[in-house]
Amino acid sequence: MNQTQAFHRRIDAALHDDQLRRNFRSALTGIQAKRETQFPDDRQLQALREQARMVRANALVKQPELLEQLEARLTGNGIQVHWAETPQQANTIIGDILRAAGARSVVKGKSMVSEETELNHYLEQLGVEVIESDLGEFIIQLAQEPPSHIVAPAIHKNRREVAELFHRFYPDIPYTEDIDQLTQSARLILREKFAAADAGISGVNFAVAETGTLCLVENEGNGRLSTTAPRLHIAITGVEKVVEKLSDVPPLLEILTKSATGQPITTYFNMISRPRQPGELDGPEAVHLVLLDNGRSRIRVDEELLDTLRCIRCGTCINYCPVYVQLGGHAYGTVYPGPIGIALEPQRIGIDKVGTLTSACTMCGACGEVCPVKIPLPKLINRLRAEAVNEQRTTTPLLGRGSLRKPGEATIWKLWQQLYAHPRLYRLFTLAATRLRWLTPRKLGGWTRYRSAPRPAPRSLRELAIREGFGHG
């Protein structure tokens, strides 16, 4: 089965899951409304987006210098920095750090980069217990599912499904669908884990080069607990997450929380610059940062596609995508779903593996309109479509360029070109189509599954224009 067939199979499953689609529609309608309350003044919103864009664009241009500065500052602060080109390297580095420290149990804060490397699976094979501590991640860990959204991983589950999961794995806790009670159960279950864990693993929202500071955004407190209670903290992030200055943080923080969850700020903003210092009484004694490339430096080669790397992983594009709301995240089959997924994953993994995702887009532009850092998502997706069917067009090092070109489709477009680039041929075509309109098939594949078949008019507009006395110029 090729990637297109596999994608259609997953889409089919998603479209037939009415409960899933109701869950998503309800969730995203609410999230959109919350975001809108945070931006009552459109001029201010546009100014903030422009500021955020400039901060991220600046960081990407200076990326190698900033990474070196980040490494120097972190190292000077006592935080150990590791570099990984591939998921395997990243996992090995983390596994080795844990083994050297004798760490057998890990509490984990949310990290999409760790999903890229499938870190949990790797560590479990090494015999390390990994507990996801973010409630949404905890839920899907119980369900043994991947996240379906980059900010709200369990967005596809309703309370009954969560209640059933909790009761199955923790039968001593009485069954309840009450959200407050489920939340309290999670608090109790995870509290023990925080206290006892040997190590904590987290992602990073922003890494500040100027001061060597790792910034994390969260509401629950599990991030702070994971990075403070155990004696060892390992952070993992992508190499594009570095920003230049501390003063770059306020606009990014503001637009991230307002866009992603419709909050003026999250409960906690955690800025880590050092491990436990002499005289300090808590905090990890050892802190490590793993910087992962995994295709990002390759994306940076192309100046148009580079914009993809401005992403601050807010999920707003996903929340506004009219296709995503019908399918949910799992249908995409990739770590990142929705518009950012369609733009990023074919670049990260290869057009030959996941290029078909670019078909899941109507070019409506809702994503580009809301992106906090003004990534021109529709333009990038359209560009990837062009690269998918024509490997000659550019010399960009995209994996799998041209791999979706099909001779039949290419011939159709060549014929279309002949017809539409030659007015006389076109006029013959419209003459035939209008005069023989009764021959138009009533069944037109996928179109007529949901709509009546369109039919050519008796006369083309060109003919009507002549009849009504409009000149040709």
Binding site: G368, K414, Y420, W447, Y450, S460, R462, G471
Partner: protein, 248 residues
């Protein structure tokens, strides 16, 4: 800009073959305002279908064949946010580095979507001669986001005092047409148009109006398949009918 004496009319391939009445109404609205409307004989298509499918070379050849149809420095009026958006937003991308790039940019710079032209340039004034009617306005994604002209159709319809505009839920959400998307992702498209038609039905509007025939083909075709629903009209046809056309 002061009202020009002449404009070109860009039919769009969809209107030329499938919805010529909408195009004709657009041309008639312009002529009634005292503008001479020129319909270049050799025009065919802006190139968007191929462009959105990734076949940019083919799109470029078709797009460039349009350039010689619009040589004079007069506005090009397009009864479609989608095709207008292709010309204004994407021709610069498509023609980048090409020998005829300056010509393409020049044409793009004087391209207007029809309602944009009627409101901004002609400042058209409309007298409603029709019967009371409830309508819903579907603002196409391209009119809204590529051309920024969603408010122009609202403004025109608001001049018709016997027309009541109903507001559907999730008005800004895509109807699921997306050109070749409707064929390549037929089932997702079907789910999207179902949501859109549900929302429009719920307003009890008798007619759905839009700046884009692609969306209308999608929405209207879905209503028909569902066994009936509100009528659908391109805004040009709707305005021409409401203002009784050429009637004195």
């Amino acid at each position: 800009m002061p009202a020009p004496q002449q404009v070109y009319f860009f039919a769009t391939c969809l209107i030329d073959l499938l919805y010529p009445a909408a195009g004709l109404a657009g041309m008639q609205l312009l002529r009634r305002e005292g503008v001479e409307v020129i319909f270049p004989a050799d025009q065919t298509c802006c190139g968007q279908p191929a462009f959105n499918s990734g076949y940019r070379d083919e799109a470029l050849e078709v797009a460039r064949a349009q350039l010689r149809c619009f040589p004079r420095d007069i506005p090009v009026v397009v009864p479609s946010g989608s095709c207008g958006g292709m010309i204004r937003q994407h021709w610069p991308e498509l023609f980048a580095g090409q020998p005829d790039e300056p010509t393409a940019l020049a044409v793009a710079a004087r391209t207007y979507e029809l309602t944009e032209f009627l409101v901004d340039v002609l400042q058209i004034s409309l007298r409603d001669l029709g019967e009371p009617l409830k309508v819903a306005i579907h603002t196409s994604c391209s009119a809204r986001r590529e051309m920024g002209v969603a408010d122009r159709i609202e403004s025109l319809v608001s001049q018709l005092d016997k027309v009541e505009v109903m507001t559907q839920q999730r008005k800004a959400e895509c109807c699921g047409f997306g050109g070749t998307f409707a064929v390549k992702q037929a089932d997702v498209s079907g789910a999207m148009v179902q949501d859109k038609t549900d929302a429009l039905r719920a307003t009890a509007a008798q007619c759905v109006i839009s700046q884009d025939c692609g969306c209308l083909m999608n929405i209207g075709g879905a209503f028909e398949k569902q066994g009936g629903g509100p009528q659908t009209r391109h805004v040009a046809e709707f305005l021409w009918e409401r203002t009784a056309g050429d009637a004195p």
